[in-house]
């Protein structure tokens, strides 16, 4: 066991031997390029001129006044090209794949956000892209399937297992096993075997790095709380990681409680799961007493995953971060709350973070500062929410 593939007891490389050489190759390439000035400059070029970074850190006055407590800032990842933080990682990994001489890109996707982001990066950089998506999700998100096709990607409908994100990930891994010599798998969150959790974290850390600089400019000090939703955990890790050594800052990851953590219909791996191996890493997962994976449930497709990145499991057990769970219903309320108060329609994923802030902010004083990661915009969710609310937005 090489120490650097673990975060405490979590992480590792639980994958078929066929993939091990590719993971080692990826690790070596990443070590070589991550501090390479040309690589960094090229990535920075695309992030600024193409993605639109830096994203604003916006003082949400309306929300702050409404909740009547701490001052709330929104990190506007929703303003990125393709509408979420996912592009930071897709672009970084696709660029790295090209440096490694691999021009075939594989990705998995749930709602389609990571699929669209990766298809976009592949189109930009001239790579061939294959996206695996569960048949259930293909039905629920047909517009995103069309988007990916417009971008030139091939979308493969996955009919195995529960036909959702977990099975799309299995199928992407299987496809990678068969095509590993000339393909790179762009995993969509801080999950999977080493080096993915580290690599994705580093590509997403730009969120926290910018936040740090921006909040110092605006407030002259660091925030008291960082809040972000946690599916696999990449937007949260991207915000948290640059602040990890600022011990006085509280970090809160918000998972999906679905119908409630006691109902068995949820996606709260850290809150209500147990230790196990899923998709190549040891972490908290949803499983039964025989180690079979239990399907997750959340109204938000991006959080609908029965695992979480190993570094979050490490933060949970070490106490560095705190993890809370928000129900579908609470997220739907927060979705409408932000739309009305700020004129920003958030992604349902991000609405989970906002729902927690709605509880937290009133318990704090006006001198305290919360930064929430607004990981994505809600355009993709408008139809879902309209159906759930019976077409009636709250007056």
């Amino acid at each position: 066991m090489r120490k650097n593939s673990y975060f405490g007891e979590f992480g590792g490389q639980f994958v078929p031997e066929t993939l091990m050489p590719a993971l080692l190759e990826l690790e070596t390439a990443y070590e070589q390029y991550k501090d390479d000035p040309h690589f960094k400059e090229e990535l920075r070029y695309y992030l600024t001129t193409y993605v639109g970074r830096p994203t604003p850190l916006y003082y949400a006055r309306g929300l702050t006044e409404y909740l009547g407590g701490a001052k709330i800032y929104l990190k506007r990842e929703d303003l990125n090209h393709t509408g979420a933080h996912k592009i930071n990682n897709s672009l970084g990994q696709t660029l790295l794949a090209k440096k490694m001489g691999k021009k075939k890109i594989i990705a998995e996707t749930g709602a389609g956000q990571h699929g669209v982001a990766t298809a976009t990066a592949a189109a930009l950089l001239g790579c061939e892209c294959t996206v695996f998506m569960g048949a259930e999700d293909v039905k629920r998100q047909s517009l995103n399937v069309f988007r990916m096709k417009l971008l030139g990607a091939q979308v493969i409908e996955v009919t195995s297992g529960t036909q959702t994100l977990k099975d799309a990930t299995n199928e992407a891994l299987r496809h990678w096993v068969a095509t590993v010599r000339d393909s790179h798998y762009v995993i969509g969150s801080v999950v999977g075997p080493h080096p993915y959790p580290t690599l994705v974290r580093d590509f997403q850390s730009i969120i926290g790095e910018e936040t740090k600089q921006q909040i110092l400019e605006k407030e002259g000090r660091l925030p008291d709380y960082l809040v972000a939703c946690v599916g696999g955990g990449s937007n949260a890790m991207g915000l948290f990681h640059p602040f990890v050594h600022d011990r006085e800052i509280k970090m809160v990851g918000v998972e999906a409680a679905g119908c409630g953590v006691n109902t068995g219909q949820h996606a709260a791996s850290l809150t209500a799961g147990s230790k196990g191996v899923l998709h190549g890493a040891l972490s908290y997962i949803l499983q039964d007493s025989d180690g079979q994976i239990i399907p997750a449930h959340s109204v938000s497709a991006g959080l609908d995953y029965p695992g979480v990145g190993p570094e979050h499991s490490y933060y949970k057990d070490s106490g560095r971060a705190q993890y809370e769970a928000i129900t579908d219903e609470e997220a739907l309320e927060a979705f409408q709350m932000l739309s009305r108060l700020e004129g920003i329609i958030p992604a349902l994923e991000s609405a989970h973070a906002l729902a927690y802030v709605r509880k937290l902010a009133p318990t704090l004083s006006p001198e305290q500062v919360i930064v929430v990661n607004l990981s994505g915009r809600g355009d993709k969710d408008v139809e879902t929410v309209s159906k759930l609310l019976g077409g009636r937005a709250r007056e």
């Binding site: 490389q13 078929p16 031997e17 066929t18 299995n170 068969a178």
Partner: protein
């Protein structure tokens, strides 16, 4: 000497190659699996792999995925598989190898898992998602329990990795013959001979070929250059095709699977084959 090592030694002395069928435990019922294994041994199986069905089998193609789902839907559990193994062990000396993904072992508890396997008379363990890097802790438990932890080598494995695998392996080395998942449609790579020669340069352990065996012809080709042949998906396909029959006429289905196994055995140039 372990039952696995002894079996390969005996076969080698007779100039024969090992035929190793893989069954998915509980597909579609535990009783069926039990009868099937007993008959497979009569039909010429030299070792048997008992597959533990898993919800997320990333190294498996559609055939074993579906078999696993049928078995899980039928209520299969690890405890039932250990009991099945113990019943089989009381009736035969054929080496029994559990093939399971790592999470069921981890969840059950490594020590507890190995001790239950030992009690049940299991001889070896294959964990397709446990590369040498992650195997140290489990190996510290299987070694003293005299359970052979069997490693996989892949066509993508470098010489350095083959060395690592050879250093840890016991029983035999599972040589994955295609760059892909089980049940692969791809033909056995033309490079198989070179791949086996490369592994051979790192170890004296028997080499068994698996993942691409789907006909007497492929079994014969593999047997000509390896010490053993592992066959899973193409056996299970014969169960899958006959599922409506399984309930009322299980013997008919079992006979068909066994006849297929015997045809592989024959193609492998061995003299001993089907009794019935």
């Amino acid at each position: 000497m372990s039952r696995i090592a002894q079996t390969f030694t005996n076969l080698r002395l007779k100039g024969q190659k090992a035929l190793i069928p893989y069954v998915s435990c509980g597909d579609p019922s535990l009783e069926f699996t039990e009868q099937l294994v007993l008959k497979l041994v009569e039909a010429g199986a030299d070792l048997v792999e008992l597959g533990v069905p898993y919800s997320d089998p990333v190294a498996d193609g559609p055939t074993i995925q579906k078999a696993s789902q049928r078995a899980l839907a039928g209520g299969i559990t690890l405890e039932k598989i250990f009991q099945l193994a113990a019943r089989l062990r009381s009736r035969m000396e054929t080496p029994l190898i559990l093939m399971t993904y790592y999470n069921p072992i981890y969840r059950f508890g490594l020590e507890r898992f190995v001790s239950r396997a030992q009690e049940a008379g299991i001889d070896g363990l294959i964990v397709p998602d446990l590369p040498p890097e992650e195997a140290r802790i489990l190996k510290q438990i299987t070694d003293p329990a005299e359970i052979d932890l069997i490693f996989l080598a892949a066509p993508t494995s470098t010489a350095e990795r083959m060395e690592k695998i050879a250093a840890l392996a016991r029983g035999f080395i599972y040589c994955v013959s295609v760059t892909g998942v089980t049940g692969s449609r791809e033909n056995i790579a033309s490079g198989l001979e070179a791949f086996l020669a490369q592994i051979r340069s790192h170890t004296d352990l028997p080499l068994a070929v698996g993942f691409g065996i789907k006909s007497p012809e492929t079994a014969g080709k593999a047997a000509a250059i390896a010490d053993g042949v592992i066959v899973g998906s193409s056996l299970i396909e014969r169960i899958e095709e006959n599922l409506p029959l399984v309930k009322d006429e299980p013997e008919r289905v079992i006979n068909e699977v066994c006849a297929y196994l015997a045809s592989l055995k024959k193609a492998m140039g061995n003299t001993h084959f089907a009794m019935n």
